[in-house]
Amino acid sequence: MITVAFFKAAIIAGIPLLFATLGEIITEKSGHLNLGVEGMMLMGAVIGFQVGYTTNSPLLALLFAAIAGALGALIYAFLTVSLRANQVVSGLALTIFGTGFAGFVGKSLMGMKMTDQFNYFFRDLKIPGLGDIPYLGEIFFNHDIFVYLGYVTAIVLGLYLYNTGKGLNLRAIGENPAAADAASIPITKYKYLHILLGGALCGLGGAYLSLVYVPVWQENITAGRGWIAVALVIFSGWNPYKAIAGAFLFGGLDIIGFRLQGTAIAISQYIFDMAPYVATIVILVLVSLRKSKKNAPPKALSEPYFREER
């Protein structure tokens, strides 16, 4: 049933994707393809849950979820920036590591639940004014605080990338690190900082699942959402603003299947599960056909930078 309730649920399903996608965009803008999204999400999810469960403090839980994601990214950054290891392999290794890490830490948390007091922090809050718009208000502006954090993060990142000098520097590194280096931009520092920031955002995406969406600890709670985020980066053309729309679209596709069951339009959930990837491939084909510089990946993506090779 396509109703307001469905669109509202699609936003919630899209939020973990949005955080992970923003994290991966900022990472890829620095010229690094980090396929460890799933691993970093799981690390953030489990540490956030563990901290929230022990301290009963939502803010600490969020903080530590971000730190956990960033620590995962630190492993990746050290391997690929300092040691110039293969980015694809390092990223995949991080995913496997993160899955194991979360399973290990989460063993004692399995099936645990947060207190009502904790959950109250993430209750639905209607934004005055905006929340009263018919339909749209209920869909977009009657959510928990984490969802608003997602909106704000996306907009702030967009402003940062396209409207600040530092953002320009970052994009320059992703496009042509040699030129950026010549312009005396501190490349290694930029790369480390943005890969860590990307990891922190992925960690928050995972934490949304374990702290707000589910919110019971369950092994492998992300269930492949990290990979959808990787596809979503391409789908949104490395643009944080478009990532908002993309995340909610993919979130909607994730949950539409069983809402259509029993209605006249009976399409298998498997079709919808495929849809994000098919859409991504179509977008890739379209972008390369148009040969446009817009929506293209950062030119130096996944190429290690050696200053001596200039």
């Binding site: 049933m1 109703t3 309730a5 469905f6 649920a9 399903a13 973990p16 399973g103 063993k107 004692s108 399995m110 099936g111 645990m112 639940k113 699942l209 969406y213 589910v214 919110p215 019971v216 369950q218 092994e219 492998n220 709670i221 269930a223 994730d254 949950i255 299947g257 069983f258 809402r259 069951q261 029993g262 009976a266 298998s268 959930q269 498997y270 599960d273």
Partner: protein, 369 residues
Amino acid sequence: MIKLFSILLSITLVLVMAVGCSQAPDQGQNDQGQNKEEKLKVGFVYIGSATDAGYTYAHDQGRLMLERELGDRVETIIKENVPETQECEKVMTDMIDQGCKVIFANSFGFQDYVVRVAEAHPDVIFLHCSGSIQGPNYSNYFGSIEEARYLSGIVAGMKTKTNKIGYVAAYNIPEVIRGINAFTLGVRSVNPDAVVMVKWTNTWLDAAKEKDAAIALLDAGADVIAQHQDTTGPQVAAEERGCWSIGYNADMSHAAPKAYMTAPLWNWGAYYVKAVQSILDGTWTNEPYWGTMKDGLIDLAPLTDVAPEGAQEAVDKIKEQMKAGTFDVFAGPIKDQSGKVVVPEGSTIPLEEQLSMKWFVEGVEGKIE
């Protein structure tokens, strides 16, 4: 030509080595067996984690019971989170290398791999959960969880006010369909006006998605949520909406204290002890095992305070009959979704037909896609 020859030669060498290596440990074990009396080593291949508070947790409780009861003659090893791929073949072979003489595999998807490994190791006994395989040294085991689902249906049917009950279902395989039908028969035995709405998630273990399926059902007017999933996602959805829920596999009250009423339970220990005892005694046969409430394999979790008044008595009454073996969940008359009587009064659905059930009884709203 030389290249082709060298490739063929290498393949031959590898094959020879593989054969040589695979024979060596067997001989070693025979020697050991002659030297001293060893404990029977039993391997458990788990689809999930032993602490998943659900399906695999229930199996592991059964394993622990086996260790408690026969610990002086049996030792067990486990491997968790084994995927339903070629990987599980490796896990089983590895267990055999470690000396396992009995292997339990607890998921349907292991079936084909179990057959392959079993045929290569005729001296090891393989027992596979929920499938239909049978051979000289392998067989299957499962049970009539439908009995407990029927009882939980009684509780749900008495609780619902909207007369709409949501059922979050995993995959449209006979096991799940059978459960939905039994549940619905239970619901309608006390509340003939109630319907059971089914949503398929095509997942066993995706808490977020399964919770959302429950929300879709609650949005459609359901006020009681039942589930055939391995996570507590649907329970949490019911809790958040102030509705009620029926769990599965384990007591799920910790996840939804204000919603959870009861849950159909497996008591795998009842079977594991029995099967291993018969192997120790040398009386094991490859007859498939089908446990019931009478055997103690199936049970219903204690009803919580949330459960409706009078439910305990209604459940106990039927449970007594089940324990005595006089109650048949699928006794006619049963109508299908179109209202046609498919099981006439006085007859029942034989077990073989239950195992391949692909239709819904009257009162289920949903399609087998």
